[in-house]
């Protein structure tokens, strides 16, 4: 029963806030937060049941469509981790939003969407079958669409929202394809049935196809190359949305999906290679793009993409525990980074361009500390949570026999340190550059870059209002800080760590095609290599942005850097342009041609020809209708004569 409460309270909140939002006024925020906080507490209460032996908590099906299509809820160790993060981090972000969204015209609508998102995400992780998962999968996409397009008067937000939704539908379609195969071969959609029967039901190719279909879904939702282009654009949404959906929870659903279907991946080495490679490509591609961004949220967006690449690489090669741990630590430190960025953006009245920041350390000391902790955590500095999880993923990758993926991951770790420190230095150190003429910084079209204060309904409308108390925004960040530091310690102790014991043999062992060569060096050496590279990344960032002369000449140096950004990177490898020219435009042009040319001038023309031929027949008959009564009479007489003649010939012989 408690699980139903966990699942349905956010939905209730969404409906309430949507129906009675205007009447609730400023109560919308606290109510929305409570609808997430209570499920969090309830989930904690369910911990013993969820971790009980025998697969955790599994409720009776609620709905049955057909034989084999039953829908129920389950809470096991894996979904427990996700549920706790969704409701826990979600609750903090809701509280933060009360402060951040204060004074927005659609305050209640925002919380309605956020509650709806949490509900959808819970549907995704609590479902005990693959169609239910797809329902959650689609609904989180919808919530993401609503929240990216939250300020729907902005054309850029509207376009970004549509792009995110359509690309996510590509992922839905991948999962649908997997469902086809599962239903056709297994005959049931429940996880339990699938895992029990897939070994005998699937051939090797079918297994790969199922994994491929699931992975397409995962790539779209988790912004993996080549379906990643929506994520940076998704930053059009309010910052808490970026923190909750596009960093902490929704985008990591792909990791959940692969971990949930671990038995399938264990059995398919081909699928593992594919996923591992895509994850590694995404990790490094995102990290490289993160180095040339100026929008603080886009830097974080690309870092998210890169970090999810790590997780996907981890779960892809079979290092499920490491991948899931990285999800857990990432959820905390990335939420913290985004929320801190939100504090900065809020303080600077919607300025998001790091070139126009600088020197905020004294103005926003708390934000500086929080951001510093986040950057240290994401860079993998020892002692911080990111260190443990990233190390686990990387070393497991090597141990499972993927030296090239390992190399990519290690290099990415160095790049990560560089661009995160770059962001930190640009934002908080040196002199404040907000009063510098944008063109001196190389910013040509501040309004087009989407970085200038957006036409300002947000800033304008909050002026006459009271300000929400500052602790609403700093408090949640302060709660996140210790987690960002310490949550990774659960992995301390290797085989006997609490984390390893928590999962035990939950994920099972991966089948391999041959003996895996022993890793060439121990975990300690690997850690040392990573640390050296992180240090190198930090050093480069220091040289370019923190050295005294770099701080002195910040403005001209930033201008030079802006102008010299390689076009390939600035255009994000031209993925968007390629999709536009190869898919979007041809489809539109074809559709337009169908409507304006094929329908009227081909299909209708054929019909018209038929009509014209019957018209010709009509003309022929028309000529008989002379209108002369006497002519008609004559023809009648002639007809009668014919009839008489007929009878005369046929029967005439009688006399």
């Amino acid at each position: 029963m408690l699980l139903y409460l966990v699942w349905l309270l956010p939905l209730l909140g969404a409906v309430l806030l949507f129906a009675f939002g205007p009447q609730l006024k400023s109560w919308a925020g606290p109510i929305g937060s409570a609808m997430i906080g209570v499920p969090f507490a309830a989930t904690l209460a369910l911990w013993p049941e969820a971790t009980a032996p025998g697969g955790g908590l599994h409720l009776q099906p609620m709905v049955t469509w057909l034989n084999g299509w039953s829908f129920g809820l389950q809470l096991d160790r894996l979904s427990l981790i996700w549920t706790l993060v969704i409701t826990g981090v979600g609750f903090l972000i809701h509280v933060y939003s009360i402060g951040y969204m204060d004074g927005d015209r659609a305050f209640a609508r925002f919380f309605a969407y956020m509650n709806f998102f949490v509900y959808a995400m819970l549907t995704l992780v609590l479902s005990d079958n693959v169609v239910g998962l797809l329902v959650g999968w689609g609904l989180v996409g919808l919530a993401s669409y609503f929240l990216i397009g939250f300020w729907f008067e902005r054309p850029s937000a509207v376009g970004a929202a549509r792009k995110a939704f359509v690309m996510n539908v590509v992922g839905d379609v991948g999962i649908m394809f997997a469902i086809f195969v599962i239903v056709a071969k297994v005959g049931s959609i429940g996880y339990a049935d699938v895992f029990a029967k897939f070994g005998t039901a699937f051939t090797k190719e079918e297994l790969f196809l199922v994994c491929l279909g699931l992975f397409i879904g995962c790539a779209a939702k988790s912004a993996q190359v080549p379906l990643h282009t929506w994520l940076p654009d998704a930053m059009e949404g309010p910052t808490p949305v970026s923190a909750l959906i596009h960093a902490a929870t929704m985008v990591t659903a792909g990791v959940y999906l692969i971990a949930r279907f671990a038995p399938l991946w264990n059995a398919s080495p081909d699928a593992r290679s594919l996923v591992g490679v895509i994850g590694a490509i995404t990790a490094i591609a995102g990290a490289v793009l993160g180095c040339v961004q100026w929008d603080i949220k886009r830097i974080l967006a690309y870092s998210t993409m890169s970090q999810i690449g790590y997780m996907i690489m981890g779960v892809g090669v079979g290092a499920f525990e490491g991948g899931v741990l990285h999800f857990l630590t990432h959820a905390f430190f990335k939420a913290q980074l985004f929320l801190t960025a939100g504090i900065v953006i809020h303080a600077l009245h919607d300025e998001q361009d790091v070139r126009r920041m600088g020197g905020l350390r004294t103005r926003l000391p708390f934000a500086f500390i929080a951001m510093l902790v986040g950057v240290l955590a994401i860079s993998g500095v020892p002692g911080f949570s990111g260190f443990f999880s990233k190390d686990a993923v990387l070393y497991e990758t090597l141990a499972k026999g993927h030296p090239y993926l390992y190399a990519v991951g290690v290099i990415t770790a160095g790049i990560t340190a560089y661009y995160m420190f770059r962001m930190l230095f640009l934002t908080f150190l040196g002199r404040y550059r907000g009063d510098v003429d944008p063109s001196d910084l190389g910013i040509r079209h501040p309004e087009l870059a989407g970085t200038a204060p957006a036409a300002g309904h947000h800033a304008e409308e909050e002026e006459p209002h009271h300000h929400a108390p500052a602790w609403l925004m700093t408090g949640p960040v302060a709660v996140l800080i210790p987690f960002s530091i310490f949550i990774g310690w659960v992995q301390f102790g290797g085989e006997n760590s609490p984390w390893a014991r928590f999962f035990g043999d939950f994920f099972g062992a991966a089948a391999t095609t041959g003996p895996v060569p022993a890793p060439p060096f121990s975990e300690g050496v690997s850690t040392a290599i990573v640390l050296v590279l992180v240090l190198a990344g930090f050093a480069v960032a220091w040289l370019r942005y923190w050295k005294p002369d770099a701080l002195q000449n910040a403005v001209p140096r930033l201008r030079t850097e802006t102008v010299r950004t390689p076009a390939l990177l600035w255009n994000a490898y031209y993925f968007d342009a390629a999709y536009d020219y190869l898919l979007v435009r041809p489809a539109r042009a074809l559709g337009g041609a169908f409507v304006r040319y094929v329908d009227p001038h081909v299909i209708d023309a054929a019909v018209r020809e038929a009509a014209i031929s019957s018209q010709w027949l009509g003309h022929l008959f028309r000529s008989f209708q002379t209108g002369l009564v006497r002519a008609y009479a004559l023809s009648i007489a002639f007809g009668v004569l014919c009839v008489v003649a007929y009878y005369a010939v046929v029967f005439g012989g009688g006399r």
Binding site: V131, V135, R162, F177, V183, F594, R596, I603, V607
Partner: protein, 487 residues
């Protein structure tokens, strides 16, 4: 008694409406809504109403005035009543009385189509349901062209249906055969295929299926909103219902022979409609083309020979009825307020019309197959059924329009509702309570069906068992080898 009342009641009520004064908008709306509500309640109260039958012809073949519920028709009658009710509530303007009257006549005629258990009676009602649509169309469209196009296309279909019915009657001795499990008359030799072709042509035109669809966008664009809701939601299902309830049990071998052709048409329509919807600027025509795409999918399901897809087809028929009616009513509200349907001109309505935006959004979401709404339930059942029956390639191709659907539906929604305010658009008033009341039951129904289509799937399962779609599959093995081999 119930069944006869379901058919004749609305027709009589509709004709009596002409006795009201022309300006009696409210009275006409109330009468239409009450009649529709009664038609909704009657099947619920009396779900096992006995057949109504009266001998009609005995030479050259026997035919009866025979009405009865079947596993599919029961739901279609309910759907029709619900949508007529919603449509009636949105009636407004100086032509409300006439449209209300024609709505009721249409409802009666379509109940006749769904309830007829005699092929000749079916053909009669089939043509009767053209009349109200034509009469409304000829008076609303500016130059009358769409009306004639609609009439001629559908009359040609009606003619072939009538000829095929007559041929069937002469060959089989009776036309009292729909839903009659003992009437396993197999039409021999070449005649069977001709009879099937005649019936199928009528169904394909009415649905419509590519390439017989060109009457549809114009008709949908020109009809007043209440009428187009009923036509797109229910009349377009008459052909698919016919395939499922008439030709599948009666002419399974011929269905099998036509399978490859129908798959080609269905897939072509699926892709063509989706791309055309992406290229169209007129909001109502976007939905019209999307219907072409969705109905193509149902056609695939009907001809696939898979019982899972057959079940999905009924779910999707009802789902499509609900969401297309909601979409057209919402678009009608937009058109009445802004006096344009051009996506390039509209924009930014959501800020002042939250209820209207919500209604349109929900309709669009159901139409694009959002998981959790009824469209998805039908879609996934159909596609899975296709795949399971061995139509792997078709199932994979049919996934492409799913992506396109999200693109064109959001394009339509955002073009109307989002973006900056367009200053020179006329008056803005959010949905009235009456309009909200009209759309609400449709939304409630497709949400409920999306979560639990159990009642429908059970009915369709019954239908699938009494009229085994497997008959197609077995005939295919002999007569028309699959284009795609099963894995």
């Amino acid at each position: 008694m119930t069944l006869t009342a379901l058919v004749l009641g609305p027709i009589v009520a509709g004709l009596l409406l002409y006795a009201l004064p022309r300006s009696a908008t409210n009275a006409a709306r109330a009468v239409a809504a009450i009649v529709a509500a009664l038609a909704f309640i009657a099947p619920l109260v009396d779900p096992s109403a006995p057949d109504a039958a009266a001998r009609w012809l005995s030479r050259p073949f026997t035919a009866s005035f025979h009405l009865g519920f079947g596993p599919l028709s029961y739901w279609l009658v309910l759907l029709l009543a619900l949508i007529t009710f919603s449509a009636a509530l949105t009636l407004k303007g100086d032509r409300a009385r006439e449209i209300a009257a024609q709505l009721l006549v249409l409802q009666g005629a379509m109940n006749g189509v769904f309830l007829a258990k005699d092929l000749l009676l079916f053909a009669l009602f089939w043509d009767l349901m053209l009349i109200p649509v034509f009469l409304v169309l000829i008076t609303t469209s500016a130059h009358g062209r769409p009306a004639w196009k609609y009439l001629i296309y559908n009359l040609v279909g009606g003619l072939t249906l009538l000829l095929a019915t007559a041929a069937y009657g002469v060959l089989a001795g009776t036309t009292d055969v729909i839903g009659n499990p003992t009437a396993h008359f197999s039409v021999v030799s070449a005649w069977g295929l001709w009879i099937f072709a005649g019936i199928a042509f009528a169904f394909l035109v009415k649905t419509p299926v590519f390439p017989f669809h060109t009457w549809m966008p114009e008709t949908y664009a020109e009809l007043p909103p209440p009428m187009v809701a009923v036509v797109s939601a229910v009349q377009s299902k008459a052909g698919l219902y016919g395939f499922m309830a008439i030709t599948l049990p009666l002419l399974p071998a011929q269905m099998g022979q036509a399978q490859t052709l129908m798959f080609a048409l269905g897939l072509a329509g699926l892709i063509y409609g989706a791309l055309a919807a992406l290229g169209e600027r007129d909001a109502k025509k976007v939905v019209a083309y999307s219907s072409l795409s969705h109905l193509g999918l149902i056609l695939l399901a009907v001809f696939s020979g898979s019982s899972l897809a057959y079940i999905g087809a009924l779910v999707y028929i009802v789902a499509h009825g609900l969401f297309s009616a909601a979409l057209f009513l919402a678009l009608g509200a937009v058109e009445q307020r802004e006096e344009t349907r051009d996506l390039a001109r509209l924009g930014g309505l959501a800020a002042r019309n939250p209820r209207l935006a919500g209604a349109l959004m929900l309709g669009a979401l159901a139409a694009l197959g959002l998981p959790g709404l009824a469209g998805f339930a039908g879609e996934i059942l159909i596609l899975t059924g296709l795949f399971k029956a061995g139509w792997t390639l078709a199932a994979v191709i049919a996934l492409v329009p799913v992506v396109l659907a999200s693109a064109y539906m959001l394009r339509m929604f955002q073009g109307i509702m989002n973006g900056p305010d367009v200053p020179d658009l006329p008056e803005r008033r959010d949905l009235t309570w009456l309009e909200s009341l009209a759309i609400a039951p449709l939304v409630a129904a497709f949400v409920w069906l999306g979560v639990n289509p159990g009642a429908l799937t059970a009915a369709a399962d019954r239908g699938a068992r009494t009229t085994p779609p497997a008959a197609i599959t077995s005939s295919v093995a002999v007569e028309a080898p699959r284009v795609v081999s099963s894995r």
